[in-house]
Symmetry: C2
C-alpha cells in the first residue's frame, strides 16, 4: 500500500511531517510517498534512519498556504504538493492522501483531482470528539456551511461506515445534533433530515442529541451541518483552553495551591492526554473517490504517524466500498413499508 | 418598582425562589409580587424575617411544568403563575417578570400576555457566557431555531442596548458567530446578516467571531440564531462537565495527586466560581414590550436575587426604551450613502 503524504502542509512542516512519515512507514509497514520539494525532503530524511523503509519522493514545487483561498489556490498552483499528491491517488499510484495543510485546500484538491464518490452530493469532514468513554465521531465539521437534508442523510451513512470499518464499532449509534433531545426539537433542517434518517436502511439512528450529551459517550456518530459542527468543535476548544488558563491562574495564586498543583501535575497531564485526539489521526474527508486524511495543522510526528495508520486502516478495511454500498442502499431502497394485501373476497 | 416573580417555576421552587424574593427585596428595595399558590407562599414566607419588605401575594392556582409544550400549556393554563405574572406586567401593576421556570413557557406567556415590542419580529434569549475577562453576552440561545437575516440584525441592536444599559459597557463590540473569523466565512444566513449589520447605525459591529475566540473576552455581544446559540452553550456546559469529571478521576487516581487536589481545592473552587454565571441573573428575553428575566432552572436564592437585580436595573435604566429607539434607528435610517451631487453644467 502506498500513501501519498503532503510534506509541505502544517505548522511544523516539513520536519515533523517527514519524521511522522518515517514513524508511520516503520510502524505500519506501508510505502509512503513524500510529496514536496525534493531537496527539502532529502535534507530532512538524512536526519533519520530509514533503512528498510519504502519512502519515495514525488517532486512538487509549490505549496498551498494556510491563508489562501482554497479553490483559487488549487486551480492556480498545479504543481503544489496537494495537487500532485491527489493526482498520485487518482492515477492509482497511491491509495490514500494525507495532509496537515489547509483543510479547504485539501477539500478543493480532492474534489478537483480525486473526485466525488458516485452518488455523493457533498464530501464531509469527520473528526473525533472527546467523551467520558473515549471519543465519538462528529461530521460535518467544516466542509459545507449550508447543506440540505439529503446531504445530512449521506453524512450519517458515511459516518456510520467509518465508525464500523475504521474504529470497529459493531452497530454504531447515530444521532443528529439538535437544540433539545426530545423528538420534534430542531430547526427546519434537523426536522427534515430526521424524517429521512428514520427511514434510512443500514444505520442505527436514535434521534436527537444535545451538545451537553455528546460527552456522555452514548452516541458513536453525531451528524450535523458543517457550520454548526465547526462552531461546536471550536467552542469546545475555546472552553477547554479557558478552563486550563483559569486553572493555572488560580493554582499559582497561592503557595499552598501551587504545591497542590505540583503534586497533581501528573493527573493534569493525564487529563490533557485523555482530551487529546492526535492519536485518532485527525479528520477525514469522506465522500471522495479515495481516502483523504486531514491531520491537525499543529500535527507533530506522532500525529502524522496516526494519520498514516488511519489511512492504512481505511484502505485495508475497504472503507470506500463500505460507504459506496451504504449510499447505494440508502438511496435505492427508501422507506419500505409493509405491503397491505387485500385478501380475496 | 414592582417585580412579578413566578414562585412556582424552577428545580428548587418554591422555597429557594421565595428565599430569593426576600433577599432581592431587602438588597434592592423593590416591591416583589409573589405569584403562585397563596398557602404555599405564606408557609414559606413564615420562615423568613420580612419586616419592612414590600412583598405581595398574587394568587395563581396552576403551574406550567418543565416538560409541557409551551404554547399549549400557556393557552390551557390561564391561571398558571406565568400567565398571571405576565398579566400583572401587561396591566402596568408590575414592571418586569422574573421566572426560573420553563424557558419556552416564559416565551409563550410573554408573547401572548405581554406582547412584542413595536417593530420587533422575534424576541431573543440573551445569556452571559464566560470569558478570560469575565462574561460576554450571547443571543439568541434558544428562542428561535430558524431566523432571517433581519432578525439577526435586530438581535444585534437588542444585545448592544442590553450591554450598555444593564452592564454599563460604553461602546459594546458586536460580532456575529461564524465558522471562521475572516470576512466572507459563514453560511448563507451569516453572510446575508453581515451585509445588514455592516450598515446598521448605532452598533459597533466588528465582523465574525469563532467559538474559540469568544472566550478571549474581546467581544461584548455575540449574535447568532437560536439553534446554533443553543448548541454552543450546551456544548460549553458539556465540555466543562467532562473536564471536571476527568480531572476528579485523574486526581483521585493516586495518593500523591489526591493530596495535590486537596491542597489546590480552593483554587478549583475559585475556578468554578469564575465560570458560574448565576450572579449575572440568568437569561433575559429581549424584544417583548416589558422585561422578562429567565433565571436558570437550577436557581438558588442567590441566583433569584441577582435576577431581581437585573430586572430592577433594566427597568431603572430604561432598557426597553433604549431597545425601542435602537430598533427604530436601525430600521428607519438604513444605509446612508454620501449623495452624489452633479454640479450644474
Amino acid at each position: 500500500m502506498n500513501i501519498a503524504l503532503d510534506v509541505m502542509g502544517g505548522d511544523y512542516a516539513p520536519h515533523e511531517i517527514i519524521a511522522g512519515a518515517v514513524l508511520g512507514a516503520r510502524s505500519y509497514g506501508v510505502t509512503v510517498t513524500l510529496v514536496g520539494k525534493p531537496d527539502v525532503i532529502q535534507a530532512e530524511l538524512a536526519k533519520h534512519n530509514t533503512r528498510g523503509l519504502d519512502l519515495r519522493i514525488e517532486p512538487a514545487s509549490q505549496v498551498i498556504e494556510m491563508d489562501e483561498k482554497p479553490a483559487k489556490a488549487v486551480r492556480s498552483k498545479k504543481d503544489s504538493s496537494m495537487v500532485v499528491a491527489c493526482k498520485l491517488v487518482k492515477s492509482g499510484q497511491a491509495q490514500a492522501f494525507v495532509t496537515a495543510g489547509n483543510t479547504g485546500g485539501a477539500l478543493a484538491a480532492g474534489l478537483f483531482h480525486i473526485g466525488r464518490m458516485k452518488g455523493i452530493q457533498r464530501p464531509a469532514l469527520i473528526t473525533p470528539f472527546p467523551t467520558r468513554r473515549g471519543f465519538c465521531l462528529l461530521l460535518d465539521v467544516g466542509a459545507n456551511a449550508d447543506v440540505r437534508p439529503e446531504q445530512l442523510q449521506q453524512f450519517a451513512v458515511m459516518g456510520s461506515a467509518y465508525s464500523r470499518r475504521v474504529l470497529g464499532v459493531r452497530n454504531p449509534v447515530v444521532r443528529i445534533l439538535s437544540n433539545g433531545e426530545e423528538a420534534g426539537k430542531g430547526n427546519n433542517l434537523v426536522l427534515e433530515a430526521t424524517a429521512l434518517l428514520e427511514r434510512t436502511p443500514g444505520i442505527n439512528f436514535q434521534g436527537n442529541v444535545e451538545g451537553k450529551q455528546i460527552v456522555d459517550g452514548r452516541t458513536d456518530v453525531v451528524v450535523t451541518d458543517g457550520f454548526t459542527g465547526n462552531v461546536l468543535i471550536k467552542t469546545a476548544e475555546g472552553v477547554g483552553k479557558l478552563i486550563k488558563q483559569i486553572l493555572v491562574e488560580e493554582i499559582t495564586a497561592t503557595p499552598i495551591s501551587s504545591l497542590g498543583g505540583l503534586l497533581a501535575r501528573s493527573a493534569i497531564r493525564r487529563l490533557s492526554k485523555r482530551l487529546d485526539d492526535s492519536e485518532y489521526g485527525g479528520a477525514v474527508l469522506l465522500g471522495l473517490a479515495n481516502l483523504v486524511v486531514v491531520a491537525h495543522g499543529s500535527s507533530n510526528a506522532n500525529a502524522i504517524r496516526h494519520a498514516i495508520r488511519v489511512a492504512k486502516q481505511g484502505v485495508e478495511n475497504r472503507l470506500i466500498d463500505e460507504i459506496q454500498a451504504g449510499i447505494q442502499e440508502a438511496t435505492q431502497r427508501p422507506a419500505e413499508h409493509p405491503s397491505i394485501v387485500t385478501p380475496p373476497a
